[in-house]
């Protein structure tokens, strides 16, 4: 399993052609207390860098983009019921959706952990 990161602070953990997507700890910390999450239904097609989900803190709403293109196979209803899970474990239990990737070649444009950490440090 390999994890990739986007410069919009999403992560995707890929095994074969199935990826689990969420927002990074850096993003969750920056957002503050998450109070609402809107996820796509299973079966919806998402496009790389297109709208995928919405996450809202007390202060503001933010769009979450798809790191790569694919079909949503599962949405994490646990974070819809309890949005605080996104803050508690953003890169674990606070995942957003699972995707069936339509083009694994899109992964090559994403960052690895070391590159992403460097990217955040520069923010």
């Amino acid at each position: 399993m390999t994890t990739y990161y986007t410069n919009e602070h999403e992560w995707i953990s890929v095994e074969g052609d199935i990826g689990t997507v969420g927002i990074t700890a850096f993003a969750a910390e920056k957002l503050g207390d998450v109070v609402f999450v809107e996820l796509p239904d299973a079966g919806r097609q998402v496009k790389k860098e297109g709208d995928m989900a919405v996450v809202e803190s007390v202060k503001a709403a933010s769009d979450v983009y798809a790191p790569v293109s694919g079909d949503v196979t599962e949405a994490n209803s646990a974070i819809v019921d309890d949005p605080a899970k996104v803050n508690a474990d953003p890169e674990g239990a606070g995942w957003f959706v699972k995707l069936k990737l339509s083009n694994t070649a899109e992964l090559s444009g994403l960052m690895d952990k070391a590159a992403y950490d460097k990217f955040c440090a520069a923010q």
């Binding site: 503050g32 207390d33 109070v35 809107e38 007390v58 202060k59 503001a60 709403a61 979450v64 983009y65």
Partner: protein
């Protein structure tokens, strides 16, 4: 993911006397009203909001515009009349009807009855200070307000800015006990009273008021001693620092307007559901700016009205959200909206056609293209807990 863009002006940001303290406390600093201000501290908006509702929160509101309007000569039997004659033509409050040491919310109005600002005005408690008014205006409007007041006063009174001072707000159910330990004289004060009080030998101006719906105080303190005073308050285990994020969610739950969002020059006091600020005496005299329109709206009602709005689901509806009637007709817009931690759900306020302003009226909110169920709700969302 992407947050809403933060529009940053090229102007260098101003700093309050407590700026260094905010940074030391780990405040996340953002631009607000031209100042570099803490939006939150490490515990976060939710914890800060809840702390203020259950204990006491300390807010730096030094970015606001405290000032004094002062006659050339203070005291004497006609000082209140004179200063009221100068200030009343700008606002809708019965200034001459204020009791000694009484504070009131009032509105600075333009000639069409549009709201230029909402502000607090107080009459001094001490007889020898009669002829002076203590005024606190909003940060974003203070330059224009000060210029307007000073120009109107001319040489009849002097406007003395006090916005170089620190203005601290201590808010919450334990604020009274915290202040009583530091300044016992404050224990006698009730809601909307202003007193000059000694704190460690330092005379400062304290009002029992605020912007959270809780009991509390706003304290005007000399800048050079403000940090030590703030640290003294923070040393009390009942007190924690609170940022502007929680200040906004607290005031929204309390049903209070944020200038530039819920009220501006396009709104009259009647539309804004602030008719109560147009005092009886001034209505009878009809001598405030925009009186013709405002008195007409008082009699006949306005076309639109500010109301509380409760989204019935979990999704917050933000400022700018379109409001529709149950049958899908556009009837208004949300002017403040977010998540209310005490309500534990989304809360909002906005303007709707007066025909749809009754509490309980079903509404639709258009959020990301979807029509979400909501209804008109009574304000405040969280009951006020003032010390009367």
């Amino acid at each position: 993911m992407a947050e809403a863009p933060n529009t940053n002006e090229a102007m260098p940001l101003k700093k309050t006397p407590l700026h260094a303290l905010h940074v030391r406390l780990g405040g996340r600093m953002v631009e607000f009203g031209g100042y570099d201000m803490p939006v939150q501290y490490p515990e976060g908006i939710m914890a800060e909001h809840n702390w203020t509702r259950t204990h006491a929160g300390l807010f730096d509101v030094s970015h606001m515009g405290p000032c004094f309007l002062v006659l050339p000569q203070l005291g004497g039997p006609d000082a209140l009349e004179k200063i009221s004659d100068i200030f009343e033509p700008l606002v809708c409050a019965d200034v001459r009807g204020l009791k000694p040491g009484e504070q009131k919310l009032t509105l600075l109005l333009d000639d069409d009855g549009g709201i230029l600002d909402d502000l607090m005005v107080a009459r001094p408690y001490e007889e020898h200070r009669e002829g002076m008014l203590y005024i606190v205006v909003n940060a974003g409007t203070k330059e224009a307000d000060f210029a307007r007041i000073a120009a109107h006063a001319g040489d009849r009174a002097r406007l003395a800015r006090a916005d170089d001072h620190a203005l601290l707000a201590l808010q919450g159910p334990e604020a009274g006990a915290v202040m009583a330990d530091i300044a016992p004289a404050t224990a006698e004060m009730t809601f909307l009273q202003v007193r000059r009080v000694d704190v460690d030998g330092q005379s400062c101006l304290i009002s029992r008021s605020g912007y959270t719906g809780e009991d509390g105080f706003e304290i005007l303190f000399p800048p050079e001693k403000a940090e030590a005073f703030a640290e003294r308050l923070l040393a009390d285990p009942r007190v924690k620092p609170i940022g502007l994020g929680a200040r906004d969610s607290l005031r929204l739950e309390a049903g209070m307007c944020l200038y530039g969002h819920d009220i501006d020059t396009t709104k009259s006091p009647i539309e804004a559901s602030l008719a109560w600020t147009v005092s009886k005496a001034r209505r009878e005299r009809g001598d405030f700016p925009g009186a013709q329109r405002i008195l007409k709206e008082l009699k006949e009602g306005a076309h639109a009205k500010r109301v509380g709005i409760k989204p019935l689901g979990r999704a917050p509806a933000r400022e700018g959200t379109e409001i529709q009637s149950a049958d899908g007709v556009n009837i208004g817009v949300i002017t403040s909206g977010g998540f209310g931690p005490t309500v534990n759900g989304p809360v909002a306020m906005g303007y709707v056609a007066t025909s749809h302003a009754k509490t309980g009226t079903p509404l639709k909110l258009i959020v990301r293209g979807k029509a979400l169920d909501a209804e008109v709700a009574a304000l405040p969302f969280v009951p006020h807990k003032y010390k009367r």
